[in-house]
């Protein structure tokens, strides 16, 4: 009996393909919108989460300038840090695991007859720890190399690939500006960041080497601080802010001319965005499913009127109320489930395209797919019930007389 009801529903839907497709359009659009946005949102979240973990979750960034807060001075005009600032942070603030002062310049790098434009970063060995870099091969800087500012470098994976291809770069020389630098190591690849930047496209040299031979000053653009495990990064962040205000002689009421960011801040921005997105999605889904449901109810009511005579025949030859009720209810549910299935297919397709276009990972979320399907079926039950009951309660005599 159940299979007969299902196959009957399919037959009725097939009989009116155009009408059925228009009927489910609302549900298709609603479900597709939800699936697309949730899937893309999941991809974006995963990407940022991966990036944060690749940066190190204890990381605190200190930069000159006012960051993203409002208009004003950019980091270019702000007073840069000096090595003493980094040293002060390392010595005076508790709960810190490592501090990596950081300066960088872009340069054209030449090895043999190939060249590559990249950025040169100067720092200490702490850079590796603080930014969670590990070496694919070779070694990190020796203490003497850092102190004397020797011309040695560690290549990012992209630079290594562009300049050396499959060859082993260890011991080879690369040239940029007037320096000839010996390659002592290669970093493990990290891939792209969420902003689309290639994180592996850089060369690390000792800080002093960069300052003396490339920049010609003793400025530091950024200080990367790693808090100890279990220490509140918020607390460390506040301590750093207080210390730097003191060192930069900022009086009461004067704005910071530097900014300190921890990963928690980035995380909370992210979760805030996700929450807004989820709320919007819920609203979109609710409205479109409501509209879709009303569409289904409307068409089912028309269908009941059109098929009054058929209902009369069925009742006369022995269908019970519940048989007729089930017939129309199943039809509504099959219709709306079809809407759900098409919506899921379109949604996943759009999400896959979108993820590709935006260079994000495509993460299939079975939970939301199942939820969307169950919901669309539920819409069929809710909005199909009234027309189905109307059909089931028809008077067989009246129905048989209906033309």
């Amino acid at each position: 009996m159940f299979w007969e009801t299902i196959s009957l529903a399919f037959r009725e839907i097939r009989r009116n393909v155009l009408r059925s497709s228009l009927t489910i359009l609302g549900i298709v659009i609603g479900v597709a919108a939800v699936i697309t946005l949730v899937t893309l949102g999941g991809g974006a979240t995963a990407q940022v989460a991966a990036e944060i973990s690749s940066l190190g979750s204890n990381l605190i960034q200190v930069r000159a300038g006012q960051g993203f807060r409002g208009p004003g001075r950019t980091s270019g005009t702000a007073k840069p840090f000096k090595l003493d600032d980094a040293k002060a942070i390392a010595q005076q603030i508790s709960g810190i695991a490592a501090v990596a002062p950081n300066a960088s310049r872009s340069a054209q790098v030449i090895a043999g007859n190939t060249n590559w434009s990249t950025s040169i970063t100067g720092s200490t060995n702490d850079f590796l720890f603080v930014r969670s870099w590990s070496l694919a091969n070779g070694r990190s800087f020796a203490e003497s190399e850092i102190r004397s500012g020797k011309a040695v470098c560690i290549l990012g994976a992209t630079v290594k690939r562009e300049l050396f291809g499959e060859q082993d770069p260890l011991g080879a020389s690369v040239r940029f500006n007037t320096i000839t630098c010996q390659v002592i190591g290669v970093f493990e690849a990290k891939g792209q960041s969420s902003g689309g930047n290639d994180q592996d496209d850089f060369i690390l040299v000792p800080l002093r080497t960069l300052q003396r031979r490339l920049a010609g000053n003793t400025d530091i653009n950024a200080i990367f601080v790693s808090a100890q495990d279990g220490v509140s990064t918020t607390k460390v962040k506040e301590d750093i802010e207080r210390l730097l205000r003191e060192r930069r002689r900022l009086g009461e009421g004067q704005d910071d001319d530097f900014f300190v960011r921890d990963m928690q801040e980035i995380m909370s921005t992210l979760t805030g965005t996700t929450r807004i997105l989820t709320t919007l999605l819920g609203a979109v889904a609710a409205v479109s499913l409501l509209v879709g449901g009303i569409g289904i109810m409307n068409i089912m009511l028309v269908s009941v009127t059109e098929r009054t005579r058929e209902i009369g025949i069925r009742l006369a030859i022995g269908a019970m109320e519940q048989d007729v009720l089930m017939q129309f209810l199943v039809e509504a549910v099959v219709l709306s489930s079809f809407g759900g299935l098409f919506g899921i297919a379109f949604g996943l397709g759009a999400a896959a395209l979108g993820a590709k276009a935006m260079n994000m990972p495509f993460i299939f979320n079975p939970g939301i797919v199942a939820l969307a399907f169950v919901f669309s079926g539920g819409v069929g039950i809710v909005f199909g019930f009234f027309p189905a009951r109307k059909a089931a309660r028809l008077d067989p005599i009246e129905a048989l007389r209906h033309e």
């Binding site: 030859i317 022995g318 019970m320 519940q322 005599i397």
Partner: protein, 241 residues
């Protein structure tokens, strides 16, 4: 002798006692049946006649368990049917009754076989058995080989025979025919009437048929004439009450 007494002592298949049916209420009340007494024994072939508005359709609806009497008693094999609920009446229809209509009332765009199967589906008969019984029923009405045709592809006479097959496939106790030949020419009408007569004689199927045509009524063993919501006893033919 003994067997005859046994049938007598058993309750008649259908018995109406003082059945009335009033549509509307108050001043607008319109009595369609004004106290009908009727006994139909199993195996009879009854023709119901009368002008339109005489109450014969109302009476057929009550006998067909599609409608309930306003007052009076409707006994089916001795059981009171008048007080049954909608679903109980549906069970009565599916288990004891078969219907044939003037307009055939087949499901369009549905094959003859599927039309005949329909009442079996509601009875929960398994697919294989259902197919077999529906094919057999179609063969009985002379439509073997027409199983996959839809009503639109069949002539009026063939459509009515499909309807007959649908009515008898469940082996009902009573076949209710509402002007079964009303839409057919005389040759097709004769075919249909001969089929009904055959089922009545060979299988002892009780047939109650509404008709306007005396030619068709002549096939029946008994005629009941309705007039103004009452049975016209003077016009009763065949066995008297």
């Amino acid at each position: 002798m003994n067997s005859r007494e046994a049938t007598r002592s058993a309750a008649p298949l259908i018995e109406l006692q003082g059945v009335t049916k009033i549509y509307g209420a108050g001043v607008a009340a319109m009595p369609a049946l004004r106290g009908i007494d009727l006994v139909i024994e199993a195996g009879e072939f009854v023709a119901v006649m009368g002008p339109s508005g005489s109450g014969k359709s109302t009476c057929m609806n009550i006998l067909g368990c599609l409608d309930k009497p306003t007052s009076g008693t409707f006994l089916f094999e001795g059981f009171e049917v008048g007080g049954l609920s909608r679903d109980q009446l549906a069970v009565m229809r599916r288990s004891c009754l078969g219907f044939i209509f003037q307009g055939f009332n087949l499901l369009n765009r549905t094959s003859a076989l599927e039309n005949v199967e329909l009442p079996l589906i509601y009875r929960g008969v398994p697919v294989a058995l259902r197919h077999r019984r529906a094919r057999a029923a179609l063969a009985t009405v002379g439509l073997a080989g027409w199983e996959s045709h839809t009503p639109g592809e069949l002539s009026g006479g063939q459509q009515q025979r499909v309807a007959i097959a649908r009515a008898i496939v469940t082996e009902p106790k009573v076949l209710l025919a509402d002007e079964p030949t009303g839409n057919l020419d005389s040759a097709r009408s004769r075919e249909v009437m001969e089929l009904l007569t055959t089922f009545n004689r060979q299988q002892g199927l009780t047939v109650i048929m509404v008709t306007h045509e005396p030619d068709m009524a002549a096939y029946a063993g008994q005629q009941i004439h309705f007039i103004d919501g009452l049975i016209n006893s003077a016009a009763l033919t065949g066995r008297t009450l």
